[in-house]
């Protein structure tokens, strides 16, 4: 992977693009990859995005409270300051490292980045003029337009943006009841204690957990390296739960990266890699599903659809799954066909290395409030992001009940829509901005290759750059590793524009 290789890949990409009558610069601009100066010679993000600023700021006057100071909350706050003349905005966020770059956790988990590469302080990103309350909201009272914090402070608002993110529900798993629930950042000592040492357990869904994953991965790669012919191979298991999760591709990404590290160490022959997803497909978009299936076959991965992890026995190193299948029922004379019955049973699977992707849930204070819906997430109009019941409440990011992947790629499209609509609502206009459901998942398939899975409500590939979206490319790896973080941290959080 030297410059010569990079140049070859870029030349290949240019060839594909020129067939479409497009230069690399135009393609990147079209894709909105403003941080991709690496490829284009663009000197900074601000110059690329300056045409996005409004000609005239709105003169509306209202108090906006944003609960949550992660990517969605801070980007929204910054963009509101771009669009409102005299903004009165308050962010309520208790976690000091809430601005950390979560998409990098996969890379930390595979030892490509260090944990310090993703740690970002909240204070460095809260926009000028925006008030920060470093407390946790424990009660939402949308009827009286106020929230209450854990320190007893009651904060009233005219408009509320819920951007709390989600929690990882490790305690749901039998054997990990002591783990509790965890946010990606913050003090997760309880979780790591429950996971234990020398148990082969790991999980990249918290920042500290991703660093620990790399330690555990190295330990078991070493064991795989020492497997002699005829001996049992080291079993690496990767799970995908029955709930929406942050970045649905991540459980596969860490599996692909483990595979890469095993190959790099000359230990692949001593390892078996198994994927246990709760669902019946590798990806919601059939084209990407097919591409991933081919990759799984090529890399000799085993897969077991419709298996949901429910129990972990750390002592015996046994993972228990709720396995589901369907059986043919009696003949239905009206339908003139056979019924299908769903069945399930528990299945025990021994493991050496177990990477857990936990259920993701809305924080209790949101789920149990009047703002939470049946699933706990905040029910919003999926296009306008306005709450279905409270017209002065909006939700953005992972906590919003939007039937689309919970990724930074989704937030990148959502926060602009939300700001347009909240300003329109304040001005008494119709909400015209609509989230089209676009999201992107850079699916890492090895160290050096990424398949850029882009799609929207149509659940069909919607590549912004006219290249075959099912092909794994080095150029997207470069984008994932070098360009996406500056685009996110600077373009979205610092500028509110990317």
């Amino acid at each position: 992977m030297d410059y010569k290789y990079l140049n070859n890949m870029l030349a290949e990409m240019d060839k594909d693009l020129s067939e479409k009558g497009m230069s690399r610069r135009d393609a990147m601009k079209l894709a909105g990859i403003s941080g991709a100066g690496l490829f284009m010679g663009a000197s900074n993000v601000q110059a690329m995005e300056k045409d996005q600023l409004p000609l005239k700021k709105s003169g509306v006057d209202a108090k906006i409270v944003i609960v949550g100071g992660g990517l969605a909350g801070i980007s929204t706050a910054k963009r509101l300051t771009n669009f409102i003349e005299n903004p009165d905005i308050t962010i309520i966020e208790p976690e000091k490292l809430s601005a950390s770059y979560q998409p990098g956790q996969t890379l930390v988990g595979a030892g490509i980045w260090d944990i310090d590469d993703i740690k970002e302080n909240r204070e460095d990103y809260v926009p000028d003029g925006v008030k920060l309350i470093p407390e946790k909201v424990i009660d939402f009272d949308p009827t009286n337009n106020q929230v209450t914090t854990d320190k007893g402070q009651v904060v009233s608002y005219d408009y509320l943006v819920v951007a709390t993110g989600i929690q990882h529900d490790y305690e749901r798993l039998e054997g990990l009841e002591e783990a509790g629930r965890a946010y990606s950042t913050g003090d997760n000592t309880r979780l790591h204690k429950a996971m234990g040492d020398d148990t082969g357990l790991c999980s990249i869904w918290t920042a500290e957990g991703s660093a620990k994953t790399w330690d555990v991965m190295q330990e078991y790669i070493e064991k795989a390296k020492n497997v002699k012919e005829g001996e049992e191979k080291i079993k690496f298991l990767f799970t995908h739960p029955a709930t929406p999760i942050k970045c649905g591709g991540a459980p596969k990404k860490i599996m692909y990266l483990t595979n890469s590290r095993l190959k790099e160490a000359g230990a692949r022959e001593g390892a078996e890699l198994h994927f246990y997803p709760n669902g019946g497909a590798m990806f919601g978009v059939p084209e990407y599903h097919d591409a991933i299936m081919e990759q799984f076959k090529r890399e000799d991965f085993k897969w077991h659809f419709r298996h949901n992890l429910v129990r972990v026995d750390k002592e015996r190193k046994i993972a228990t799954f709720d396995a589901k299948w369907q059986e043919k029922g009696p003949y239905d004379p009206i339908m003139r066909d056979f019924e299908v019955y769903s069945k399930h049973e528990r299945k025990e699977v021994p493991y050496d290395f177990l990477h857990i992707t936990p259920d993701a849930v809305a924080p209790r204070e949101v789920a149990e409030s009047d703002l939470g819906g049946a699933s706990g997430f905040v029910p919003v109009n999926k296009e306008t992001l306005q709450h279905v019941k409270y017209m002065n409440v909006f939700a953005v990011g992972d906590v919003a009940s939007v039937p689309m992947a919970k990724t930074g790629g989704s937030v990148r499209k959502q926060y602009k829509v939300l700001v347009d609509n909240i300003v329109s609502q304040m001005e008494g206009k119709k909400l015209e901005a609509k989230y089209a459901g676009y999201t992107v998942c850079p699916l890492i398939t090895s160290i050096g290759t990424v398949m850029l899975a882009e799609f929207d409500w149509t659940v069909k590939p919607t590549p912004l750059v006219p290249l075959d979206p099912t092909v794994e490319r080095w150029i997207w790896w470069l984008m994932k590793v070098y360009a996406l973080k500056p685009m996110t941290m600077i373009g979205m959080m610092k500028l509110g524009q990317a």
Binding site: P241, G280, M335, E339, S342
Partner: protein, 159 residues
Amino acid sequence: MQVRFEFAIYDEELDTFELDENVYSFELNEEQVETYKLFKEVDLHLYNWFKDSKIFNNWIKEKVYPDKIGQKIVICDIEDISFRRYYFFKVTSADAHYEYFKKLFNIFHELDWQDREEVGANILEHLVIKRQELIIELKEEQAEENTIASNADTIEIVE
């Protein structure tokens, strides 16, 4: 050539379909036979062709359901082609129907956690709309003539 039909009667208040277990035969002329052969590979085209055919509609009103003017009916079967899945679909229905609707309505397991029940509920929502497109209303002849006359008047005014 005779084509066999089975129908169901739509109850608008209850939004349910009652199967008429009788089989009715409709005679096609030579030209219609050619069209039938062309459309029978694409079931919804075939359905819509009959639904929009005035001769077919008159046959239903005059021969099949002369006492049901003002009611709504649907075609359940045309020869060996069944449309029952549109009216009697259940979430637990056989895979063939389930997969058919997923494809028809562009529903995929777009989110890995969705199970059959959730996707089935989604299918049912789409079906409510689709079924309305398939309903044949047995209108009074007089009403149709009035509409034609009214349209003709409009054209005259425009000219």
